[in-house]
C-alpha cells in the first residue's frame, strides 16, 4: 500500500506539472490582446497596452516567463490576480469562493448520495412497478431536459410558490441556499439512483443471491447485506472524486443563483486572460481529480478486500 501510495504521488506530481506547463504554454499562445477588455481595447493606445503587458510580465520571452512560473510554483507562490480582482492574491481570490462552493457542494453531495441510493434501492425492490417507473421517469426527465430549463422550473416554483429567495445571500444563507442545493442535487440524485438500481438489479440475477434465498435469508437481509454491498463496489470508486470536485462548484448553478463560488471562476479567468488565476485553478482541479481517483481506489479496497492494487494481478 505504501509503495503504491508513493508511486501514485510521484506520478501525480509529474501529471500536475505537465498539466500546468501545457496550460501555461496554451495561455501564452493566445494573442496578448485577450488581456484587455473590449472597452479597454477601444480606449487604450498601443503604448498603454504595452505598458500594461510589461507590468504583468507578459512581454518577457516565453522561456523567462516559464522559469519564473516554475520558481514561483516551487515556493507555492501563485501570484496575484490581474483581472478578476486586481492586486488580490490568487489564494485569496480562490479562498473566498472555495468555502461557499464547498458548503453547498458537500450538502448537495450528501443529499444526493442518501436520496439517490435510497431511490435506487426502492426502484430495485419495486422493479417494474409504479415506484420504479416514477424513479425512471425522474431520471429520464433530469437527463433529457437541459439544466437551464430544470433550474428555471425550480426557480419559478421555489420562489413563487414556496417563497424561497431567488438569489443567494450571505445575510440569509439558509433559505437562499435551498434552491441552489436542490438544483445541484437534481442530476446527481438521478445518477446515483440510476447506477444503484442498475448494479443492484445485476446483482439480483447472480447465483449467490439464489443460494441466499434458498438458504432462507430475508429479502431485506439479501438486499442490504449482499446486493447493496456488492452493488456499491463499482460506485464507491467515484464517490470521493465527486465529493472533492463539488468544491469546484457548478458553473451554471452558481451563475444562475448568483452564488459567489468557484464555478464560473475558471471560465471568467480564461476569458479575462487572468493567467495566474487560470494556472492556479488548473493545478487545483488537477490535484482534486488525482486525489479523488486515489481515494476512490483506496475506498474500493476497503469495501471489497478481494481487490488489490499492488500485486501482479492488480487491475490498475
Amino acid at each position: 500500500m505504501l509503495k503504491y501510495t508513493v508511486k501514485r504521488l510521484a506520478q501525480s506530481l509529474v501529471t500536475i506539472l505537465l498539466i500546468a506547463t501545457i496550460v501555461f504554454l496554451l495561455m501564452r499562445c493566445l494573442p496578448t490582446d485577450y488581456y484587455f477588455t473590449e472597452e479597454q481595447l477601444m480606449k487604450f493606445t498601443e503604448e498603454q497596452k504595452y505598458a500594461a503587458l510589461e507590468a504583468a510580465g507578459l512581454t518577457d520571452p516565453i522561456g523567462t516567463q516559464l522559469i519564473h512560473f516554475y520558481n514561483d510554483l516551487l515556493h507555492l507562490d501563485f501570484g496575484t490576480s490581474r483581472r478578476i480582482q486586481n492586486g488580490a492574491t490568487v489564494v485569496k481570490v480562490i479562498g473566498k469562493k472555495f468555502g461557499v462552493s464547498m458548503r453547498l457542494g458537500l450538502i448537495s453531495a450528501g443529499i444526493s448520495l442518501v436520496v439517490g441510493v435510497l431511490m435506487g434501492i426502492i426502484q430495485t425492490a419495486f422493479k417494474d412497478k409504479l415506484l420504479d417507473w416514477i424513479g425512471t421517469a425522474y431520471t429520464v426527465f433530469v437527463n433529457a431536459v437541459p439544466s437551464l430549463v430544470s433550474y428555471s422550473l425550480v426557480l419559478v416554483f421555489g420562489s413563487k410558490y414556496l417563497g424561497f429567495p431567488t438569489l443567494y445571500s450571505t445575510r440569509n444563507v439558509g433559505p437562499s441556499s435551498v434552491l441552489p442545493i436542490v438544483c445541484l442535487s437534481l442530476a446527481s440524485i438521478a445518477g446515483y439512483a440510476l447506477w444503484t438500481r442498475r448494479y443492484m438489479v445485476d446483482e439480483l440475477t447472480r447465483d449467490y443471491i439464489k443460494l441466499a434465498r434458498v438458504k432462507g435469508l430475508s429479502s431485506s437481509e439479501i438486499m442490504f447485506k449482499h446486493v447493496l454491498r456488492n452493488a456499491m463496489v463499482p460506485m464507491v470508486q467515484y464517490i470521493p472524486q465527486s465529493i472533492l470536485l463539488t468544491v469546484g462548484g457548478s458553473l451554471l448553478m452558481e451563475r444562475f443563483f448568483s452564488v459567489p463560488g468557484m464555478g464560473p471562476l475558471l471560465t471568467d479567468a480564461i476569458q479575462r486572460y487572468d493567467l495566474n488565476v487560470v494556472q492556479t485553478l488548473v493545478i487545483f482541479y488537477a490535484v482534486l481529480g488525482i486525489a479523488g481517483v486515489f481515494l476512490g481506489d483506496v475506498l474500493m479496497m476497503v469495501i471489497d478486500p478481494r481487490i488489490t492494487l499492488t500485486g501482479k494481478e492488480a487491475a490498475r
Binding site: 490582446d33 480606449k43 487604450f44 505598458a51 500594461a52 478578476i84 492586486g87 473566498k96 413563487k160 452564488v259
Partner: protein, 672 residues
C-alpha cells in the same frame, strides 16, 4: 468668464403618486435646475428631504459580466468599476440630473479669458476616512496633486488614465515620459517632483488648485470631472506602498464619497452604507443601505422584481411581450420608459474593407466611396423594426439622427448642442411622431433616384450588384443574431436585394481583434460615450490627419485611405477634408462658447449630410422601478452617474407609466 457655484439648499416638494407635469418639473428643478449659476453640489443637488415613503434599503442589480475588477479610482478605466467606486470617492466636480457640471469638492471655479488657466476653490470640510468610517486625514489641494502625480507616473499607474491630463495639462505628457524613462525608480517620485518638472498644476494654498492648459480649453471643467483628476492621500500611499495602493480594495482604501462599502462578495453583492463623515451629508439624501445584487442576466430579472428581491429591473423584449400581450397583466400600468443611455450608436462605414484573405474588397470600397450610395443609407434605411429590438413599445424613441450624444453640452442660451445640429440639417421642425423616422420624412424614404444614380455611377467603374455589406456579430449569441436578422430585413425592405445585401458574419471572442482590426467589416455599429463635455470629443474621432482620431484610424479606416487613396476615393476624401476643416475651425474658437458650438454643429451637419457615418441608435429601455430615474445624475461623460444620492424612491407600488411620462415631459422641457 467666471462661475460661482456655491451650494445652497432647495427644499424638495414631496413627490408622490399622481403627480403631473408641474409636479414632475418641480422635482426636476429641485434636483439641479437648468441654470448653472444656481446649481447646488452635484453630490448634493438640492438638499432634499426624503419623502415619508421613500425606500431606505434600496436594492439594485448588475449583470454578472459587469463585475468590478479594481477599486482604485485612479487606475480604473472601466465603467463597471467606476459605477461602484463613484459611491465612495468624490472628485473636484460632479454633475446634476441634467448632466451639467456641478460642484463637489470644488465649491466654485473660474478661468482666465482664453481658458488656459483654471482655478478651483475647494471646500474645507472634506475628510478621508477608512472603511469603518474613522477619519484618517483631512483632504486638501495637495491630495489632488498627489492624485495627478500618481496618474501621470508610468510606474505607479501603469499608463492607465493618462491620456486626458496629458492632452490638457501643461507638461503632463513630458512628466509621464520622464517617469517612464526612470523605470522602477519612478516609484519614489512625488508630487513635488511633478511640480519641479513643470507640470501645469499648483496648489497656492490648502483649498485652491490651479491648472494650466497648453492651449485654450474652454471645456476643462468637464475634463477635471474625470477620474484622472481625482485626489489621493499621500498618507495612504505611504501606508500601503505603491503596489498596495494600486491594488487597494474596499478594506484598505480611504473614502471621501457618500458611502462606505459594508460588504462585498464578488459575483453576488455590493452593499453600501452612508459615510458618516461625508462632507455633503446634510445637503443630500442617501440610502441607509444600498445594495447591488449581481444577477446572471436579465432573463430572471422580472422574477426578482416580482419577488421583491430588487427594486428596479430592466425589461427584455420577451418580458415586454409577455406583459403587453396580456391586458390583465399587473405590470401594464407600471411600465416605465427610461432615458437614453449615454451612448450615441453609429453605423461606421469602412472605407477600406478587406476580405478574409487580407485583400481589398474593391466592390464595397468603390461603392461606399460614392456619395449617392452613402446617401441611400442615410436617407433610405428605415430602421423602425430594428429599433423595436431595443424598444418594443416606442421604437422610434431609439432614433438617432446625430453623431454627438444629446446632453453633452449646452450653449449659454441653454440650448442643447444637437438642437443646433438639427437646425443646420433642417431637422429642427421635425418632432417625434411615433410613426416615421425624422430623417426619412423629406422624401418618405423613397431613394429610387439616389439608388438609380448610385447604380449607374458605380456600374461605370465596375461595381457589381448587389453590393455585399458585411456585418459581424458574436457567434452563438442568439439575441445578436435575431437583431442582425431584423437589420438584414431592414436592408432588404429599404434598398431591395438587387442593390445592397447585408451579410451576417460571426466572430468568436472579440469584435475588435477579429473583425475591426483586420478591416473585415463593411459596417460596424458602436456606441460612443463622451469623455468630456465638448463636441470635439465626438467629432475629433473622425477627422483626417490626426493620429488620435480613434474612428478614422481604426474603424472607418479613412486614415488608411488618406495615406494611399485610389481614384474613386478622391471625392470621398474631399468631403472628409471639408468636414475636417470645419472641425478645425470650430476648435480654434475658444473664447465664445456659442460660436464654438455653432461651428461644431456646422461641421457635424457636414459630416452627416455627406453620410460619412450613419447615425444609428439610442438605447431607450423599459423598466419596472421604484426609483425615479430622472432624479439620478445623468451626465453624458464622467464617472458619476451611479452615485446613489438624491434618488427619489417609493415603497409599495412602483412608479406608473403616467408618472414616468410626466417626468420625461418635465425633463425635456427643462433641458431644452
Amino acid at each position: 468668464m467666471n462661475m460661482n457655484f456655491e451650494s445652497r439648499s432647495i427644499s424638495r416638494r414631496s413627490f408622490l403618486k399622481a403627480s403631473g407635469v408641474v409636479g414632475a418639473a418641480s422635482i426636476l428643478a429641485a434636483c439641479g435646475g437648468s441654470s448653472s449659476s444656481t446649481a447646488a453640489s452635484g453630490a448634493a443637488s438640492g438638499a432634499p428631504a426624503a419623502s415619508a415613503d421613500a425606500i431606505t434599503d434600496y436594492v439594485s442589480f448588475e449583470t454578472a459580466n459587469r463585475e468590478l475588477e479594481t477599486w482604485n479610482f485612479l487606475y480604473s478605466q472601466s465603467a463597471s468599476d467606476l459605477n461602484v467606486t463613484t459611491n465612495m470617492w468624490d472628485g473636484l466636480l460632479s454633475f446634476d440630473c441634467y448632466g451639467k457640471v456641478a460642484p463637489a469638492i470644488a465649491k466654485s471655479w473660474e478661468h482666465n479669458d482664453d481658458s488656459t488657466v483654471w482655478t478651483f476653490h475647494l471646500r474645507d470640510d472634506v475628510d478621508w476616512c477608512d472603511v469603518n468610517g474613522e477619519v484618517k486625514s483631512h483632504l486638501t489641494s495637495k491630495d489632488f496633486l498627489v492624485g495627478l502625480e500618481w496618474v501621470l507616473n508610468a510606474f505607479k499607474n501603469e499608463a492607465f488614465n493618462t491620456s486626458m491630463p496629458s492632452e490638457t495639462v501643461v507638461g503632463a505628457a513630458d512628466y509621464y515620459d520622464l517617469t517612464k524613462d526612470k523605470g522602477d525608480a519612478a516609484a519614489d517620485m512625488t508630487y513635488e517632483d511633478m511640480l519641479a518638472a513643470g507640470v501645469g498644476v499648483e496648489a497656492p494654498d490648502d483649498y485652491t488648485l490651479v491648472f494650466t492648459c497648453p492651449s485654450p480649453c474652454p471645456y476643462f471643467d468637464t475634463v477635471v470631472a474625470y477620474n484622472s483628476f481625482y485626489p489621493a492621500s499621500e498618507d495612504l500611499i505611504k501606508e500601503l506602498g505603491v503596489e498596495g495602493f494600486r491594488a487597494c480594495d474596499y478594506t484598505t482604501m480611504w473614502y471621501n464619497g457618500p458611502y462606505l462599502m459594508e460588504e462585498f462578495i464578488q459575483g453576488n453583492t455590493k452593499s453600501f452604507i452612508p459615510n458618516p463623515n461625508y462632507y455633503a451629508a446634510n445637503e443630500c439624501t442617501r440610502f441607509e443601505h444600498h445594495t447591488v445584487k449581481m444577477i446572471s442576466d436579465l432573463s430572471i430579472g422580472l422574477q426578482l422584481y416580482e419577488s421583491g428581491e430588487v427594486d428596479n429591473i430592466d425589461l427584455t423584449e420577451s418580458n415586454l411581450t409577455t406583459i403587453t400581450s396580456d391586458s390583465n397583466n399587473a405590470h401594464n400600468a407600471y411600465l416605465c420608459e427610461k432615458r437614453p443611455t449615454k451612448f450615441s450608436y453609429q453605423m461606421h462605414l469602412n472605407f477600406q474593407r478587406k476580405d478574409e484573405n487580407g485583400n481589398l474588397d474593391e466592390n464595397w470600397n468603390k461603392a461606399v466611396a460614392n456619395y449617392a450610395f452613402r446617401q441611400c443609407f442615410y436617407k433610405g434605411l428605415n430602421l423602425v423594426n430594428y429599433y423595436a429590438r431595443t424598444n418594443k413599445i416606442n421604437p422610434l424613441k431609439c432614433e438617432n439622427d446625430f453623431y454627438t450624444m444629446p446632453g453633452v453640452c449646452y450653449n449659454t442660451k441653454g440650448e442643447e448642442y444637437t438642437t443646433l445640429v438639427a437646425k443646420e440639417m433642417g431637422l429642427d421642425s421635425e418632432a417625434y411622431d411615433g410613426k416615421t423616422m425624422k430623417r426619412l420624412r423629406a422624401n418618405n424614404g423613397d431613394i429610387s433616384d439616389l439608388k438609380k444614380q448610385a447604380m449607374e455611377e458605380l456600374s461605370a467603374i465596375g461595381v457589381t450588384f448587389p453590393v455585399h455589406c458585411y456585418h459581424y456579430i458574436k457567434s452563438g449569441d442568439t439575441n445578436a443574431l435575431d437583431t442582425a436578422t431584423v437589420l438584414k430585413q431592414c436592408f432588404t425592405d429599404s434598398f431591395g436585394d438587387d442593390f445592397i445585401v447585408l451579410d451576417i458574419g460571426t466572430y468568436v471572442s472579440s469584435l475588435y481583434k477579429e473583425v475591426r482590426n483586420v478591416q473585415l467589416h463593411s459596417i460596424l455599429q458602436n456606441g460612443w460615450g463622451a469623455d468630456f463635455g465638448d463636441p470635439v470629443n465626438f467629432l475629433g474621432q473622425e477627422v483626417l490627419g490626426d493620429d488620435n482620431a480613434y474612428y478614422a484610424q481604426t474603424t472607418s479606416w479613412i486614415a488608411a485611405v488618406e495615406a494611399d487613396p485610389k481614384d474613386y476615393q478622391k471625392d470621398l476624401l474631399e468631403r472628409y477634408q471639408e468636414f475636417t476643416d470645419l472641425v478645425n475651425e470650430a476648435k480654434a474658437i475658444v473664447t465664445d462658447t456659442d460660436a464654438r458650438y455653432a461651428a461644431f454643429a456646422k461641421a457635424e451637419a457636414s459630416m452627416l449630410n455627406n453620410a460619412l457615418c450613419i447615425p444609428c441608435l439610442y438605447e431607450v429601455l423599459w423598466c419596472l422601478t421604484h426609483v425615479n430615474e430622472y432624479t439620478k445624475i445623468n451626465a453624458m461623460y464622467g464617472p458619476c452617474n451611479y452615485k446613489a444620492v438624491n434618488w427619489e424612491t417609493r415603497q409599495g407600488d412602483g412608479y406608473t407609466t403616467e408618472e414616468y411620462e410626466a417626468f420625461a415631459a418635465a425633463f425635456d422641457a427643462a433641458s431644452k
